[in-house]
Symmetry: C2
Subunit: 278 residues, 2 copies
């Protein structure tokens, strides 16, 4: 039985990096959950004494604070620094970039359009870097820009997880409404890479195991894609769900995992498959 991992799976680059940074800074706390996986948060707490705080008030109880991939608002960062906290920045570089673009472009007199969800922590952080809050618009649809004071120069960025097709609609709307539009494509393609890699592997595999929370929408999407190419596809949360009979008569077992599935869960699944099929 051959076991093959998809070329891209599980954590994106930014989350992997943030967890490594957290492990390098024990006895600290992350500002907001570092990942949407309670097992992983518990592991960091248990093995590294990395806690979790939800707001500035709680944060002040710790000496060292880790900024998660989503980043943080400029005001909160100022408070932490003013209070003499050691701040470890694990903001994803793909999120730091729109923060810098918004700071730079607003400084240069461009009105700012941010395509994203104004309640999402990543977007709260990005928007906070604007030096012209009155001409900074966070929108999900182009219609929200109608009647807004845009001026002649606009810069636009996107939330990293948005769909390119929706971004294009807003760009298209703005193209003929301002003299100059600076489009910064800050969408990260990690999600699409996982999906493409799952499809590529499912085309060749006899059985596909997709690992991730049963409620995780990106894992469900991966499972749907795998199923469409490989009828013997299974969506599991951990190794206990595996059944020996699934693997009978199969030669190649493909594996993919959702964006919040830690590697140690994936490794346990692989080990269990090896035991079941040896």
């Amino acid at each position: 039985m051959k076991i093959e991992l998809a070329e891209h799976y599980g954590f994106c680059y930014g989350v992997k990096r943030a967890i490594e940074i957290a492990q390098e800074h024990p006895n600290s706390a992350t500002f907001g959950p570092i990942i949407h996986n309670i097992d992983e948060i518990n592991r960091l707490d248990r093995d590294y004494n990395v806690g979790l705080v939800e707001d500035v008030e709680e944060a002040l109880k710790y000496d060292t604070l880790i900024i998660r991939t989503h980043g943080i608002t400029r005001d909160n960062l100022k408070i932490l620094k003013k209070e003499g906290k050691k701040v470890i920045n694990a903001t994803c570089p793909y999120v730091t970039k729109p923060q810098q673009i918004v700071a730079d472009m607003s400084q240069k007199g461009y009105a700012i359009v941010i395509f994203g969800d104004k309640n999402h922590p990543e977007i709260k952080g990005v928007a906070s870097y604007s030096k012209d809050a009155e001409r900074t618009y966070v929108v999900l649809k182009e219609s929200e820009l109608i009647g807004k004071a845009l001026g002649t120069k606009v810069a636009i960025v996107a939330q990293t997880t948005r769909k390119p097709e929706d971004f294009k609609k807003i760009v298209s709307f703005l193209t003929t409404r301002v003299a100059e539009l600076r489009v910064f494509n800050t969408i990260c393609n990690a999600t699409f890479e996982n999906q493409d890699a799952a499809a590529d592997l499912a085309k060749r595999a006899d059985i596909m195991i997709v690992i991730g929370g049963k409620n995780s929408s990106n894992t469900k999407q991966l499972f749907l894609i795998a199923s469409s190419y490989c009828k013997d596809s299974y969506h599991i949360e951990n190794e206990n769900e595996l059944k020996k009979e699934w693997f009978e008569g199969k030669n190649l077992c493909g594996i993919s995992a959702g964006a919040s599935t830690p590697d140690w869960i994936i490794k346990r699944v692989i080990k269990k498959i090896e035991e079941l099929t040896k």
Copy 2:
């Protein structure tokens, strides 16, 4: 009988300005035809001794050369200046702008995309201002950009007379292919202004007279728009085609004119209508 001109009609701002400049510089020649109307070119020749040359060789026979609205290539401009000619620049400001943008952006390391017809004099001129000819692409469709070395930073401008909808398609294509796209909407809306104004007037008029060459596509378009709102619409080239009976029982006569129709032809038409209806 009330006669009313559309709010926008005939020559655009750039052509009006160029003709005024030509009249202020008698005993010269325009580099290429200043307008697509032979009557107007003949008038400038007859009344102001403003000739017409088609290339640099011919141009060298004159002391004073007038650059028409479309502009001129940088190389040709250099030759004229090197030869000590007096160069009068009547390039439309809406064309000077993309020339400057292309010079500036190529200098700053952006690849250049020009949405336009590579054989059109305006576009030849605009493209000649790029400082990176190898990374300057003149295209009419986004498919022409496939496989081109664009790099991470691209600036795009458009030929002044192109349709915004087609420009948006190319912008959309580039949006997700480069890290930064600078979109300069250099499309001039003079054509659309004439059309909108003709429609507004035709809605109220009892008769519409649209003046312009029978082969002029923009005049035909104006006539179509006028006809759709006012059934008694007529497309004429000059005052000799007017018929007294058209105006019987009418109260309001609306007038529009194509982009190459000189004011003096429009004035003659108005005068004739007044005579026919008094």
